[in-house]
Symmetry: C2
């Protein structure tokens, strides 16, 4: 009954092959034309082995040991972490979704999503280090000078160097307009960076020789607010091999992901180079936000999967009152709800990854543009819902262990602690809800949402109650838009419920689609898939209705 | 913006004086006839000072230090814990609700409830030690021999000695029928106790010289299952001053309440004495279950209050996007929901404490019997709902701090970790739900529930939507009973939703009653009370309806 990971490869394959029909989509993308399911399978099996055999055994020890900051500012990660990272690099994993022009393998983000889900499930703390690579890669690729690209991209793609994102300052959490870090242009074209940043994940560590910091800062002539932010590349080790003037002044004592060094960083006249245009730093960073937010959503999915499969194994083996506790109705219902939500989250998150792939690679421009819209709409929902569930699912699952669940050695309590941060960083879930309501729904008067819901409902059989629920939700959206038109303040007050209402609607599609494609599975698995749909209709659909009802309800007097 | 405690004395007084009309009830109890509100106020003010000045400063350090088990089995509590306990004893706090015949102060459990709420809010880990006293006191008082009473009650009432409850064994969590610890009768009338127990809170520590263990065990001729359990009093130090053969073999590494020593205990032929009849140990322990479960519910209330008031202070002081974050609609709504739920939980938990008082002390036998029924019905609801909310409330409140909420020094992350255990121990919340459904509702065909709901609705003004919600709920109860009559399995499958449906119904009474009595408050406070009722109607009543709907819904196919 120990805490272990069995990668959900069968369900992943079912989602790729039948629920999302990925091979058909890949054929329409020149970059993926040679990819088939067997290759994808082989990649995922290898990833599963790495996650379960190399990372998972380091999860509990990493939590207990935590990171240590030495007196000289160096940070030591827990035992085994550097070796695991070397194995990760040797396996070529960082390069998986990167452009072959920079040494990448050019595989879809969809497969990268499955890889990340497994890494997060097994060791969220460890995965914080490489998780930041891709965002830095995308930002430099899109906005860096040729010189910066040549100097940094190959070594980020290979994973030889890691990256850190330096945004937050003590006075500026979600409010980036208050950032103060200064950048002074030098005669040689470089910048001199001075300021203090907090909450810098992987700002300092011992996994790689160099760490490439992307630092939000202000040039001397910068306008106030977010429109005066520039982005600088500030490496720990300079091209001439000397140590740059950036220092870790402390690491945070946190609720969870204790193996991830959350650094307070001091840039003490450090040398850096501008990425992109002056004062356009936020725009450069926004580029990577869709994938970064998807990655955080995958952390939630990983925790939910890990909690669900371990709770099920425990419940099958632990006997109380003469039978396995999994046979007690309250436990059985909880496990079913966890199962169906995990699976539906996976479908939803992978659909968002597919949208990102198609928006870049599909041969048909109309599809590229449609999928770009879908990705923009899905991203805040995946980020917020999957991390919400990624905390609340494990928090509920903990009860399956009874008192043992509260004890570290059983594993689940760490999952609950680790999972909570994902609701906060990369834009809090409240910010995701506002992004959805304001920029994704109000901005186009719901057009993209209608387009998506119409496309999804068409994938379900007629007379499916889940299709009915989608239709029902579709009628709520115009009501919400009207409500906001009458009372602008309603948007902010209803955004959370709106996001959860829409998330439940999308989950309903995912569940309905899995049931509809269940015939492709062996009999027993197919029956199970249909039973889960029934459980979802009984438990989650009324919950979704409640969110819609609240999203539409009259606001309390102000 | 540091983590502090301002005891909610004004709201406590409002609840005692106006919402529950405690003075009128006290006048009808001989034991409390001399008690007035001024005395009660003085007691609560003194308790608030102790909690906020002595205990609260030890909360974070207690978590970081935790307990240490020395090689010889002794357990050292965190710095300051023994001194705080000595101050607690010197203040006479353990004796507050105890019988004057044994050195107690004879004050109502209602005041004891307010005291415990404050202790739990400030330092749950520390309060684990004295929290167990009252249960041991009640059990020995009701079932102990005269000799045991004389030897142990005065020193438990004064707090000179502490107590521990030794129930759980590795193979027997919620299933006490599987307990194996043996008790062999000796020629001198004592018992020789041998066995291993786990999860024994305060089984060993350095706060008192002696620790009185109440151990569930089996006599040689015991029937199998729970009907063969006896209860033994096993002191750490024997009457002759020698050390008894009970040893702490280890302490658990837990998610929270790290300052509370959760011990694995070994009774190695330890000397003990029977409490009550042979094989009737569980009945003897059940006596204290109502108050013990109420105490755990108060832990949830304490956490909820602490999270709510600190979140509000932080939200008022922290400025982002040009204004205090408390003015942002999502935060404002969250704070209102936390506020109204905290207040309603307090009313409900205190009502349960009042029921316990009246069931023992009221001069009218009919009232005593009615209140005994009410206490039995309210107890599982208070335990399960207040601890559910006591975890989920702080877990949501953590978001108000953004990334800071994840960092230990801001306080809230510890509250979330500490609070989770209360959903599990003293009977998991799932067990509370089954207790409610089976023994409190089905057993008398809902008679007590109808009696309670009728009494409560009569306290609300006509045409109050909250009264309508109680009436609505009242119609659901017969439907649920019918459903269970048709399909026995439905009881276990719907118990959780039933408990939460009924809890929301009782909260609706509490909120309506507060609004109805708001005229007794200053104008601003009265207006606030009414606004909170509106927030509750908008957010919580639909949630309550959802639980009732699920409790009645057709069960998924089995």
């Amino acid at each position: 009954m120990s805490w272990t990971y069995e990668a959900p490869l069968e369900h992943m394959r079912f989602v790729l092959e039948h629920v999302l029909d990925a091979p058909t989509h890949w054929k329409a993308c020149e970059a993926f034309a040679d990819l088939d399911l067997d290759t994808a399978d082989a990649v995922l099996e290898e990833a599963a082995r790495f996650a379960s055999e190399v990372l998972q055994p380091l999860n509990s020890t990493g939590d207990l040991e935590g990171c240590v900051r030495e007196a000289d500012g160096r940070v030591r990660t827990p035992t085994g972490f550097p070796a695991a990272y070397q194995a990760f690099v040797a396996g070529g994993w960082p390069a998986l979704p990167c452009d072959p022009a920079w040494g990448g393998q050019g595989l879809p983000l969809l497969l990268d999503a499955a890889l990340r889900e497994m890494l997060d499930a097994c060791n969220h703390g460890w995965n914080m280090y490489p998780d930041l690579l891709h965002g830095a890669y995308e930002t430099i690729k899109a906005h860096g000078s040729d010189d910066l690209k040549a100097r940094y991209l190959p070594r980020l793609v290979s994973g030889e160097w890691l990256a850190a994102m330096a945004l937050t300052e003590p006075q500026a959490g979600s409010d980036l307009g208050q950032l103060r870090t200064r950048a002074e242009p030098q005669a040689d074209g470089s910048l001199r960076i001075s300021g203090n940043k907090i909450f810098i994940s992987g700002g300092e560590h011992d996994l790689t020789d160099n760490i490439v910091h992307l630092v939000l800062c202000r040039l001397p002539d910068a306008p106030k607010g977010t429109k005066g932010l520039s982005l600088a590349l500030v490496p720990k080790v300079l091209p001439d091999g000397s140590r740059n003037a950036l220092f870790c002044d402390g690491i945070e004592k946190k609720m969870g992901i204790k193996a991830s060094a959350t650094c307070a960083m001091r840039y003490d006249g450090a040398t850096g180079w501008l990425i992109g245009e002056p004062h356009r730093g936020l725009a450069a960073m926004f580029l990577m936000m869709n994938s970064a937010r998807l990655h955080v959503g995958l952390q939630g999915l990983g925790h939910q999967e890990m909690a669900t499969q371990n709770a099920r194994r425990y419940a099958e083996e632990r006997v109380q009152m003469g039978r396995a506790i999994g046979e007690h109705p309250a436990v059985r219902q909880l496990l079913d709800r966890l199962d169906v939500t995990t699976q539906a989250q996976r479908v939803l998150a992978y659909r968002a990854a597919l949208a990102l792939d198609l928006s870049e690679q599909h041969s048909d421009r109309a599809v590229r543009e449609r999928e770009k819209r879908f990705a923009a709409l899905l991203t805040p929902i995946v980020k917020a819902f999957c991390t919400h569930q990624g905390f609340h699912g494990p928090a509920a699952a903990l009860g399956v262990w009874g008192g043992n669940g509260y004890v570290h050695e059983y594993g689940i309590e760490q999952t609950v602690r680790d999972a909570r941060i994902a609701m906060i960083y990369e834009g809090t879930n409240e910010i995701q809800a506002i992004d959805l309501a304001q920029r994704k729904l109000l901005a186009d008067a719901g057009a993209t949402a209608f387009e998506l819901l119409d496309a999804l409902r068409a994938e379900l059989p007629e007379q499916d109650p889940l299709r009915d629920f989608i239709d029902e939700s579709r009628t709520h959206l115009p009501s919400w838009l009207n409500r906001v038109a009458q009372d602008g303040a309603h948007l902010l007050e209803s955004a959370d419920d709106l996001l959860h209402g829409l998330a439940h609607t999308l989950l309903a599609w995912a569940v309905g689609r899995m049931a509809a494609m269940a015939n492709a599975l062996p009999d027993e698995a197919a029956a199970r898939q249909r039973a889960l749909a029934t459980a979802f209709i009984r438990h989650a659909v009324p919950q979704g209705r409640l969110h819609w009802q609240r999203a539409l309800a009259a606001t309390a007097p102000r």
